[in-house]
């Protein structure tokens, strides 16, 4: 029954979705629900990082490449179709006991560049700052780097963790630590700080006031199978957008249209 990797002739029974780990909550859960209501169809979801997703869809080994960043210049030539599926804010998080609750973009940049190394320099206690960074495969890192770092280099001494959850649990555990994760993953264990005085929330993302936000994408090729097309339509339907997307802490792609953006 399985025809993995076999594109010549015959209808595919599988939709292979590869890419960003940020999108996993959306793709895995919607894939599951889609499979339940469609017999004989499997949605195979792998979280390998945004770049891997884009590469894999352009090479034809996946039907859908998910990405939490925009295409790079070199990738624009691949001729991929872009379907935005949700908005996401990236929250800068610290230990809940950290009194610092507001940082300017410049301060965040200086912290992650390793220029500011103690919390006392930004109005906090005399405590060394522990930097937690994401791996370079991460679309979250890419987006954060573009919006906050303005292409300044990250401090190379930062701890690099390949997963969102680990970033959160380390920061929940270490007093002086700072990191950044998707707003959807922020829990009470950590504190999201305001950037330039704006708290990250659905309202501030939709209004555009919160600066560190991005669009989550599905990238596909033109010769997309009907099943994959149908699955994407399902992801864009209110059924997924208002439940799964919102439950995962993301902001529905339809939200901005609603306020007339």
């Amino acid at each position: 029954m399985a025809l993995t990797g076999c594109t010549a002739g015959g209808e595919r029974q599988e939709v292979i979705v590869t890419g960003s780990t940020t999108l996993l909550p959306i793709t895995e859960v919607s894939g599951e629900m889609y499979t339940e209501s469609h017999d004989g169809i499997a949605i195979l979801v792998s979280g390998m990082g945004s770049s891997a997703g884009i590469e894999s869809v352009s090479k034809g080994s996946s039907d859908i490449g998910t990405s939490s960043r925009e295409l790079k210049d070199a990738e624009l030539e691949l001729g991929l179709e872009d379907t935005p599926v949700a908005y996401d804010a990236i929250a800068v998080i610290v230990h809940p006991d950290n009194p610092v609750s507001d940082l300017s973009t410049l301060e965040v940049r200086s912290i992650f560049a390793g220029v500011i190394t103690n919390w006392s320099e930004v109005g906090g206690p005399d405590l060394p700052i522990g930097l937690v960074n994401r791996d370079e495969a991460s679309g979250t890192r890419e987006a954060f780097s573009k919006i906050i770092m303005d292409d300044a280099q990250f401090d190379r001494g930062a701890v690099v963790l390949p997963g969102t959850g680990q970033v959160r649990s380390v920061i929940a555990d270490v007093q002086g630590a700072i990191g950044y994760i998707s707003l959807g993953f922020v829990t009470d264990d950590v504190k999201a700080v305001a950037i330039d005085g704006v708290e990250p929330s659905e309202a501030t993302v939709v209004s555009g006031a919160y600066p560190v936000q991005r669009v989550l994408h599905f990238f596909t090729k033109e010769d997309l199978s009907d099943i994959a097309r149908d699955y994407i339509a399902y992801v864009l339907s209110p059924e997924v957008q208002d439940t799964i997307v919102r439950d995962a802490g993301f902001i529905p792609i339809t939200a901005k249209e609603a306020v007339g953006d």
Partner: protein
């Protein structure tokens, strides 16, 4: 060692004359089939080597051999692929794990071979063997949830880095070193031991002055193979090392190794970057082959001396 098989083959050669032609042909075919299977091992090694080289050799063009082997920076965003920080990281945690793990392993081996009662031995030896069987992700997981917070307390950092990785690796290399050291101690003729005790030496004097020198080469072999295990270990290291490709900045500071960098980068690497990762694999392959060659050379030296 070679005695039994030689005796065996003579016998067959003698017997073959009485065999029918069909039997002879079948026997010869089978022998060649077995030989073919044995050569699969050689072919496998060659295949690995050829494929990793085929995918990685272009590092000599871009970024260039000097920049690859001598570069002090590994950053895919900047397009710099210098392996020195990774080599330094591998060295640091290998050294750390040997300092912690080798004495423990050798001590355990001496305990098993010279001191433990049969009852104790029946507890400790299976424990050593099972330590070898614990999957490396489980070690990594253990390091992440238990050891990391403790190290964070001690060093004041976040607990990712050289110290945590070294402790986890130390535990992982204990079985390798202990098992092989025990073998080496076991092959010391018992007459030497008895002579030492007969001269009034204590157990420790016998161990220290007689057994350890006699088993020296074997213990060195064991340590080298343990080292190989530490250099090649991947998943446990990725989970606790902090993965920052920087030079050693203290026991609590994050660090990256040849192996951990491959796992971190592999999912998104393209072009030169991917080539560079296969370049790392070539280096790891050469290191492990070199260590095996070293061990074999040492053993041969030992046999000649004996």
């Amino acid at each position: 060692m070679t005695e039994p098989e030689q005796a065996g083959s003579e016998r067959v050669n003698g017997g073959l004359k009485m065999m029918s032609r069909a039997t002879y042909v079948r026997e010869a075919l089978l022998k060649n089939l077995f030989l073919l299977c044995a050569i699969v091992a050689v072919a496998a090694v060659a295949l690995i080597f050829v494929f990793t080289i085929a995918r990685g050799w272009e590092v000599v063009k871009d970024p260039g051999l000097a920049a690859f082997l001598g570069g002090a920076e590994w950053s895919s965003t900047l397009g710099r692929f210098g392996i020195l920080p990774l080599v330094a990281g591998t060295l640091a945690i290998t050294l750390g794990s040997l300092v912690l793990g080798a004495p423990l392993a050798i001590g355990t081996a001496i305990f098993l071979s010279e001191i433990a009662s049969p009852r104790m031995r029946s507890i400790v030896r299976p424990a050593v063997e099972m330590l070898a069987g614990v999957p490396s992700v489980v070690y990594g997981f253990f390091g992440l949830v238990i050891l990391r917070p403790i190290v964070a307390e001690i060093t004041g950092g976040m607990g990712f880095g050289t110290l945590t990785a070294s402790v986890i690796l130390a535990v992982m290399i204990v079985p390798t070193i202990a098992t092989l050291t025990e073998d080496a101690l076991g092959s010391v003729p018992s007459g030497i031991r008895e002579a030492s005790y007969a001269m009034g030496a204590t157990t420790w004097q016998t161990i220290y002055k007689v057994l350890l020198p006699a088993a020296k080469i074997g213990i060195i072999d064991a340590t080298i193979l343990g080292m190989g295990r530490a250099i090649g270990e991947t998943m446990a290291v990725v989970m606790v090392a902090g993965n920052a490709p920087q030079f050693f900045k203290g026991l609590g500071a994050p660090i990256a190794t040849l192996t951990s960098q491959i796992v971190i980068d592999m999912s998104y690497a393209t072009g030169t970057h991917k080539t560079a990762l296969f370049g790392l694999a070539i280096i790891l392959f050469l290191i492990s082959m070199g260590l095996v060659a070293l061990v074999r050379a040492l053993s041969r030296l030992n046999e000649k001396k004996a």
